[in-house]
Each structure stands twice: as C-alpha cells, then as structure tokens.
C-alpha cells in the first residue's frame, strides 16, 4: 500500500521534507511509525517522543493504534498552537 505522508512544523524541519510517498505493509499508525523510525536517524529522532506528536488520518485526528485500512493520507505534527 502506498500512503501520502505529511509532516508539519518542527517535525517537517527535522525530517527535511514536507511530504513523501511511503510504501508500507503496516496495519496501524504505530506500525508505520516503527517502519519510519527504522529508516534513518532523522526519522528515529523525529519520532522519539510520541507524546509530543499528533496524527491525522485523511485529515481527521486519530490515535496511534488506529488502523491504516483504506487510509490515503497520514499527517504527523506537534500539538497545535493556533488561535
């Protein structure tokens, strides 16, 4: 399965790209994160503290154990600071 993966704010800066296509067999967000962490040091660093991260699946906030079934767009970012 190919996912569009997006990064925002300091996560985008640490990983170095705003978005990428990711081929994955992961069943959940947590599984996808494990695969990304294993890729390169910059991913391992960016995803080192999940409490400092949020995830959205197809533009809806989700949990890290949410299934990726049918999902096309995954976004990772720090807690929001709008307003």
């Amino acid at each position: 399965m190919t996912l569009k993966v997006l990064y925002f704010a300091w996560l985008r800066e640490r990983i170095g790209v705003p978005r990428e296509e990711v081929d994955t067999a992961a069943a959940t967000v947590g599984g996808l994160i494990e695969e990304l962490r294993a890729r390169e040091e910059r991913y391992a660093l960016a995803f080192s503290d999940l409490k400092a991260l949020r995830v959205a699946l197809d533009q809806e906030l989700a949990d890290f154990d949410a299934p990726l079934d049918g999902v096309r767009e995954v976004a990772f970012f720090p807690p929001m600071t709008g307003g």
């Binding site: 925002f8 976004a75 807690p79 929001m80 600071t81 709008g82 307003g83």
Partner: protein, 149 residues
C-alpha cells in the same frame, strides 16, 4: 456566516461591523467577538510570527468546530477567520464571532470555539526574534480547557 482561512490581513473593525449587522438581521441581540493579536516577545525583539497550517484539514477542522458550536447553542450567526503565513507584532492573527438571542450562549460558544480551535485545528506558530526562531509550545492549560465542554 463562514470559516475563512487566509494569508492576507483582515480588517477587524469592518469584520465586526459586518458580523454584528448580519447577526442582528438573523435575530441576535447579543454579539461576542474575539480576536488574537501577535504579541511582542518578553523583552521585545519579536521580528515576526509565522503560522503554518495543513491546507484542507484546516478548513475541515474549523467547519467541524463551527458545526459543534451550532449544535450546542442557539446561535444566529458564527464566523471564524484565521490567518497563516508571516505576520508582525500588533497584527491580528484570527477572530471568532458569535451572535445569539442570549448573551450567555454567545459568550459560551465563543469560548468553546476558541478552546477547540487552539488545540484541535492544525495551526502551528513560530516566533522569529533577534535570537532566532522557535516553535511555540502547546500549553497544558489549553488542553485542559477542553475538559469543561
């Protein structure tokens, strides 16, 4: 009314006047508006603020927050405007406005919109000062503020 996400500055006075007029025509007797302004850094030296957002999700999240407010309170009008991109100290970042027959509903809905928007809409603030740039950290208070609703 509506949700607007834009890079350009908006005219707060003109928006307030237009909102109050529209809300009044829709039956509101009580209108609340809130705006957030870029503050200078402690000790001064803020050069600019930059707001990043998630195009697409931003509009969905704000529309969803607006719908929740309309479902919970008797509102005659609601508006949300939020900017992204660079802005200088003193510039308006965003505003929400609510109109209702009753002031308690207008106030509660405006606070609800702000609390949800702060922690559930995909915006991230970066402060650029003389000492460099820093992403604003989310406040625990802001997360806790959601518990009351």
């Amino acid at each position: 009314m509506a949700v607007r996400v834009q890079q350009e500055p908006f005219d707060y006075g003109a928006e307030c006047a237009a909102f109050a007029k529209a809300a009044s025509r829709a039956g509101a007797g009580a209108v609340v508006t809130f705006c957030g302004v870029v503050r200078d850094l402690p000790g001064g030296g803020m050069q600019r603020m930059e707001i990043e957002h998630y195009p697409g999700m931003t509009e969905r999240a704000l529309g969803d927050i607006e719908a929740q407010a309309r479902a919970r309170w008797a509102l005659d009008a609601v508006a949300i405007i939020h900017r992204h991109g660079p802005m200088a100290p003193g510039e308006m970042i965003m505003m929400v406005a609510t109109g209702s027959a009753h002031r308690a509903d207008a106030f509660a809905a405006a606070e609800f919109l702000m609390d949800y928007l702060k922690s559930r809409a995909p915006f991230w603030k970066k402060e650029i000062g003389a000492q460099g740039a820093e992403w604003v950290a989310a406040k625990e208070d802001d997360e806790r503020a959601l518990d009351r609703w």
